[in-house]
């Protein structure tokens, strides 16, 4: 069902269809199934009136029943998490990135900063690059959905700004993240 909800068509040969895709020749289309409409602004927590969630149709009710997050839920999620040493997005993380991309697409002028982070294992410099790579993964999803490159800023703090302290997997998991920060 997740696959159904978030599967996408890959269009070869970039285009006119989506503004701002620049020189990319592989783009993600709009999701086949629209996101489930959420409780809109109140749960997005975006603190920015320019961002709206209106205009989205109902999604697949089966997905809602199975606990899949609604568009509003997804927008409320401002952090995506990663596996150790990886900057690949899980399907759930990709859904969050897509929701924010749609939100950005409908709110021109809003900028987003993607802050990449790593857990403390390994070397500081490699982790700095890893955080950058994670933020880049999120940016790629947003850009593919039409968010202009100029509206996305990427920054990595590597392992330097942990949110959880402790040398254990619980802390590591929370620190391997990209924070989506609206400006």
């Amino acid at each position: 069902m997740m696959r159904n909800l978030f599967s996408y068509l890959v269009i070869i040969g970039c285009s006119i269809v989506i503004a701002g895709c620049g020189s990319r020749n592989v783009v993600y289309s709009e999701p086949e199934v629209e996101f489930v409409s959420g409780t809109a602004g109140s749960t997005t927590g975006l603190n920015d009136d320019a961002i709206t969630t209106s205009g989205l149709g109902d999604g697949n009710s089966n997905d809602s029943a199975s606990g899949v997050n609604t568009y509003g839920d997804l927008l409320g999620m401002r952090v995506v998490y990663f596996e150790y040493n990886s900057s690949l997005l899980s399907l759930a993380s990709e859904a969050i990135a897509q929701a924010h991309a749609k939100s950005l697409a409908s709110a021109s002028g809003v900028q987003v900063i993607l802050e990449g982070h790593a857990d403390e294992r390994g070397t500081r410099e490699y982790n700095l690059a890893l955080g950058e790579s994670r933020a880049r993964s999120v940016a790629n999803v947003m850009e593919a959905l039409g968010v202009s490159v100029s509206r996305i800023q990427i920054v990595s703090y590597g392992e330097e700004r942990p949110v959880a302290f402790g040398y254990d997997e619980a802390a590591f998991a929370l620190n391997r993240r990209v924070e989506i920060v609206y400006q």
């Binding site: 294992r121 410099e125 790579s133």
Partner: protein, 458 residues
């Protein structure tokens, strides 16, 4: 048993007890000059592991016309030699007298203490804060002087002279260059998890004479010395167009003057000096992905070196200037690769270990130190082109930032000790490990200066 033999026998017992102590903690208190704060450094030496070093006694230097001095040359030399791991200094309780000139050395009695050599000397007041420091290295077996020298210095330079004497002793007795009259740069972190303060500091290689060259509320990473020992390149986080991001600076440690050399969008990190000091290898992501570039200082120009969709970072120049080793995620977890500076294909060097990163060459170019994870935690590892294997050198689990001493004998690195960041050293064969602890805060990101420096003043 005559009186002397009895004394020696007691002394032997004392000596044996001392050797049984696994850790002899040498506590050194340093009163810095002028406005500098009181600093405390502890060097924990695993003394048990040092047995087998060259036995030597450092006799306290006689003071002539000098009341008391804060920095006693014999104390400094003794710590230096112990710290090197190549010497076994004799406890003073069992000394055979305290000679300060050749004619008063009682060779027979010194022979009984089993030392091969002793160091004697004097500090003479010349007036107007000038001191003459004389020392002699004496061969107890052959009953002759090996080397003797005198230095005339300002009183404030006495530690430097002591380190130079240590270098001479080390050179004479091991046949290798000493690295005592060198410096280290590191980052000291103080404050709480939520409110941290970062100081980039430089100090003598024994941790004394600390000077802060940069203070920030944002992290400071990867300090690295220019080959002439005058400049530090480092990464600091700074606001550029309202976003706090990593920027690379080069700073003159004497004048404090600094300039940003890379502040492109994205990552600006991991600087490494070329051996001629004209260029730096850097990691930049301005073209979308962390890649290694070569930045030339004079022309302010950039040349891209790596091209790969995976992470490429942590470049480090080979001493011959021809190649750069770096870490790359092209096989998944990071491994160490080498690429010709002139361009060409990168070749993977490391195959054992789940994670190999932060490589840097030994001064002779024969081996590469790095952080390795082989199922035992993150440790200092050494790779050689001869063995083509990464060998673990340490037994700790959170090691970072290994840096070779400029004579290639030791590796300093950052690790955790009692939940706190500390600096530690390990000999290049892994046989001797020591921990350096500073009184306040956590210490990380060490970088050992080169041997030759043109200028030495702060």
């Amino acid at each position: 048993m005559n009186k002397f033999e009895l004394k020696t026998s007691v002394a032997r017992t004392v000596l044996a007890k001392l050797r049984l102590n696994i850790k002899l903690v040498l506590l050194l208190i340093f009163f810095a000059v002028a406005k500098e704060a009181f600093a405390l450094l502890t060097i924990e030496i695993k003394k048990g592991e040092l047995v087998g070093g060259i036995p030597i006694a450092i006799v306290p230097f006689a003071l002539e016309g000098v009341g008391a001095i804060d920095h006693k040359p014999a104390d400094i030399i003794e710590v230096d030699l112990d710290f090197s791991g190549k010497f076994d200094t004799l406890p003073r309780a069992v000394f055979a007298g305290d000679p300060s000139d050749l004619k008063s050395v009682q060779y027979q009695q010194w022979r009984l203490t089993k030392v091969d050599a002793i160091v004697i000397g004097k500090v003479i007041n010349l007036g107007e804060d000038q001191l003459e420091v004389r020392f002699r290295l004496v061969d107890i077996v052959r009953k002759q002087q090996i080397v003797g020298q005198k230095f005339t210095v300002h009183a404030s330079k006495i530690r430097k002279v002591a380190h130079q004497i240590s270098d001479i002793i080390y050179q004479q007795l091991t046949g290798e260059a000493g690295a005592f009259d060198t410096m280290i740069a590191y980052v000291a972190v103080t404050g709480t998890d939520q409110d941290r303060h970062f100081d980039l500091q430089v100090a003598d290689a024994d941790g004394f004479g600390t000077k802060t060259v940069l203070s920030s509320t944002e992290p400071i990473l990867s300090p690295t010395w220019s080959p002439d020992g005058n400049l530090l390149a480092y990464v600091t986080f700074e606001k550029v167009q309202s976003i706090t991001r990593p920027i690379i600076y080069v700073q003159n440690i004497w004048s404090g003057e600094r300039k940003p050399i890379a502040r492109h969008p994205g990552l600006n990190s991991a600087p490494s000096w070329s051996p001629d000091g004209n260029s730096l290898a850097l990691t930049l992501s301005k073209e979308g992905n962390p890649e290694i570039f070569i930045y030339t200082l004079n022309t302010d120009s950039l040349q891209r070196l790596t091209r790969h969709t995976a992470i490429d970072t942590e470049p480090s120049w080979s001493p011959d200037g021809r190649s750069i080793v770096f870490s790359s995620g092209r096989s998944g977890a990071p491994q160490v690769y080498r690429i010709p500076v002139a361009g060409g294909a990168a070749k993977r060097l490391t195959f054992n270990g789940n994670y190999n990163a932060d490589p840097s060459y030994s001064p002779d170019g024969k081996s590469i130190v790095m952080i390795t994870e082989q199922g035992n935690g993150f440790r200092v590892g050494l790779y050689s082109d001869k063995d083509r294997i990464v060998k673990e050198l340490t037994t700790t689990i959170q090691d970072e930032s290994p840096t070779f001493s400029p004579n290639g004998e030791m590796i300093m690195y950052a690790t955790q000790h009692g939940g706190r960041g500390v600096l530690a050293t390990v000999s290049k064969d892994g046989s001797r490990q020591q921990t350096l602890k500073f009184q306040n805060g956590a210490i990380r990101e060490p970088a050992w200066s080169p041997l030759k420096r043109k200028k030495r003043k702060l």
